[in-house]
């Protein structure tokens, strides 16, 4: 049972195991352990980003290609749901329509980009995805009649998912089961299923071929695997999962806009999460996301305190200004790539 769930790919480190169980339990019981809007938001963001980052890891860590269009697919999912709910009204039908259209668009677009750029040289892929993603971002903010432009679109979710909805009158452990909590569990279980699906993919024969191509594409090709096809399939698969993550985010936020869905800073966040957590180990996505999201929400406060304490010292207060937390993560990022390319998870596995 457990073996089938994890596809035979266990954490393989006691510390990592404990950390993962902690994260899982915390997320599973988040509405009861940490009541309040803000902690629930953080928990939902962690769930969704785990899926997004894990799907990026399929590309970067397993297939060995760098894409800068991952936020574009994430955004397609977000906009698909958002615009459908906005245009067709709050119903499950609208969610279905938006979801299917978004997935179709993603499949076509990612296959085209993959076939077009991976055919020539893998390094083209990074540049072309960057160009396409930025064009898409501009498009989404320019077509304001359709997408809401820079402001994005706010919309209402179906009744069951609305904050005012109550599943029943009573409370469980002092918490009323509102539409918000139902939405959270929708997000949580969808994220869990997608993560386990990705685990299944990377441990399938398909995943093994991807790793072979990553290690030595020339040899893989000589063995008879069509590298372009495999890499393109990996790209499509990762893009589809990213689209689903975007759809979940839109349902959770009941809002979709260029800053939350498409901006380049999300792409940077994803890169930081994958590399710091550990490339080529899906569990790294979990660790990377938790660390970064917690840092985003709590490290800043710490830095603010230290920065205030150092007023008067030249440069240091500016270096430790709360808005500069990305600087330190950037440094950590570069150091990770050099010194522990398998990230935190790889480190933990080495020492068992």
């Amino acid at each position: 049972m457990l073996r089938a769930l994890f596809s035979g790919d266990y954490p393989r480190s006691r510390v990592l195991m404990v950390l993962l169980v902690l994260v899982f339990v915390a997320l599973l019981l988040a509405p009861f352990l940490f009541p309040g809007t803000r902690p629930l938001n953080v928990a939902a963001k962690i769930c969704i980003f785990i899926v997004l980052v894990a799907s990026y890891d399929l590309l970067l860590g397993y297939a060995g290609i760098v894409s800068f269009a991952h936020t574009m697919f994430y955004g397609i999912g977000g906009y698909g749901i958002g615009l459908a709910l906005y245009g067709l009204g709050p119903s499950w039908g609208a969610i279905g329509v938006g979801f299917v259209l978004a997935l179709a668009l993603t499949a076509v677009l990612s296959a085209l980009i993959g076939l077009f750029s991976l055919r020539v040289r893998a390094i083209f892929f990074a540049m072309i995805t960057l160009a396409v993603a930025s064009a898409f971002l501009i498009l989404a903010s320019q077509l304001s009649g359709f997408t809401g432009g820079e402001d994005g679109r706010s919309f209402r979710a179906p009744t069951v998912l609305q904050p005012g909805f109550r599943l029943f009158d009573g409370e469980i452990f002092g918490v009323a089961i509102s539409g918000r909590i139902i939405t959270y569990y929708l997000v949580f279980f969808a994220a869990l299923a997608l993560f386990l699906f990705l685990l299944r993919v990377v441990n399938s024969p398909f995943g093994r071929v991807l790793q072979a191509i990553r290690e030595n594409d020339f040899r893989a090709e000589a063995l008879g695997y069509r590298t372009v096809v495999y890499r393109t399939l990996a790209n499509v698969l990762a893009a589809l999962v990213a689209t689903m993550a975007g759809a979940l985010m839109a349902i959770w936020l009941r809002y979709t806009g260029p800053d939350t869905m498409l901006s380049f800073s999300i792409m940077i966040d994803i890169l930081l999460m994958v590399v710091i957590g550990g490339m080529g180990t899906l569990y790294g996505a979990v660790i990377g996301v938790v660390i970064l999201v917690l840092a985003q929400n709590y490290l800043q406060a710490l830095m603010g305190g230290v920065s205030k304490a150092l007023v008067g010292v030249p440069l240091l207060p500016d270096l430790l200004h709360p808005d500069r937390w990305v600087l330190w993560l950037g440094v950590l990022f570069v150091l990770s790539v050099y010194f522990f390319p398998t990230g935190i998870v790889g480190r933990l596995r080495q020492r068992r």
Partner: protein
């Protein structure tokens, strides 16, 4: 090896031609595009204005992209952090231009130009020096590993952008044009913006200087030979690493120059401005063929001209025009216009 042979065996000024005689076709693309635009736009003055705007923008993109493409051609290193040098160049220029506001406001064009020249020297020296450090610390440990190169140079970009915030503060900085090159020269019905003429001039100086160095000096010969086949150059006893460091530093300095020009063009500086323009730079070097200076020049002019023309004719299409251009060129020549040489 074709270039090497010709420039050495015949007395012809080989720098006029990129490679084989039959490969002059891409050179015709730019005039073809410019002429094609005339009947579409209809009005002659508008056409001149747009063409000048496109040329100016193209020259600035060329300045920024040329270093990147040479670095790639020589050592197969793709520097995603190149955009950081553009931003830093522009911000370094403020160190000169803001204190010298009096020179900038003066009614004397020579004082204006002197201030800009000084700013350019400071920016190029600064970004060049930074390029040296960047090459040592960031790029050197990951030679030959594309994946890590992309990641690490992205990391360098993140750090550099954040450092700009630390040193210059998070708010955007206004960088007004000096009086002498503000406004436009009006000839009949045609308005020619002074700064655009200035940008085209600077771009031409860079292009000619680069072609002279590449084609008329021993150093340039080695660089071109290195782009063609770096192992062979190494086997002949030349230190390709040193050559590469030199090109990297020069490329970074050019990015700094491009940053100053781009910053004056925008007149407002933000830390992310380098990354914004990097998208165009990447499209340009893909179109031109990685490693080719001529291809980069043609690509830059095509991208900028097309962006200006379509921006005027069909603003909605303008967004995708660059991508469309890239797709068309790659369908024609999958390695880019002059990309055949490198692997």
């Amino acid at each position: 090896m074709a270039i090497v042979q010709r420039s050495d065996t015949t007395g012809r000024p080989a720098w006029r031609l990129p490679r084989l005689a039959g490969d002059r076709l891409p050179l015709l693309l730019v005039p073809a595009l410019v002429l094609l635009a005339l009947p579409l736009i209809g009005a002659f003055p508008a056409w001149i204005t747009l063409t000048l705007a496109g040329l100016a923008m193209g020259m600035m993109i060329f300045i920024m992209a040329s270093g990147l493409t040479l670095v790639f051609g020589l050592m197969d290193v793709l520097n995603f952090g190149h955009g950081a040098f553009i931003s830093i160049g522009a911000f370094l220029a403020t160190l000169v231009l803001l204190p010298l506001a009096a020179w900038m406001q003066a009614d004397n064009i020579w004082m204006n130009l002197a201030a800009i020249a000084l700013a350019i020297v400071v920016a190029m020296a600064g970004t060049g020096a930074l390029g040296l450090v960047f090459e040592r610390v960031i790029v050197r440990p990951v030679y030959g590993q594309h994946l890590k190169q992309i990641l690490v140079t992205m990391g360098g970009l993140i750090i550099a952008e954040q450092m700009i915030h630390v040193l210059w503060g998070p708010q955007q900085i206004a960088l007004p044009l000096p009086t002498g090159i503000r406004g436009a020269i009006v000839v009949g019905e045609v308005a020619l913006e002074r700064y655009r003429l200035f940008a085209v001039g600077v771009g031409l100086v860079v292009l000619i200087g680069m072609l002279l160095v590449l084609n008329r000096t021993r150093l340039g010969l080695l660089i071109r030979a290195g782009v063609e086949n770096s192992e062979m150059v190494q086997a002949l006893g030349y230190d390709i690493r040193r050559l590469f460091v030199l090109v990297f530093v020069a490329g970074s300095a050019l990015a700094g120059l491009g940053g100053v020009m781009w910053g004056l063009y925008r007149e407002v500086l933000v830390a992310g401005m380098g990354m914004e323009v990097m998208v165009l730079v990447f499209i340009v070097i893909i179109i031109g063929g990685l490693g080719s200076v001529w291809g980069c020049f043609i690509g830059a002019l095509m991208v900028a001209l097309l962006a200006n023309y379509t921006g005027f004719l069909m603003p909605k299409v303008a967004l995708g025009s660059n991508i469309l251009l890239m797709v068309l060129i790659l369908l024609w020549r999958p390695q880019g216009l002059y990309g055949g040489a490198k692997r």
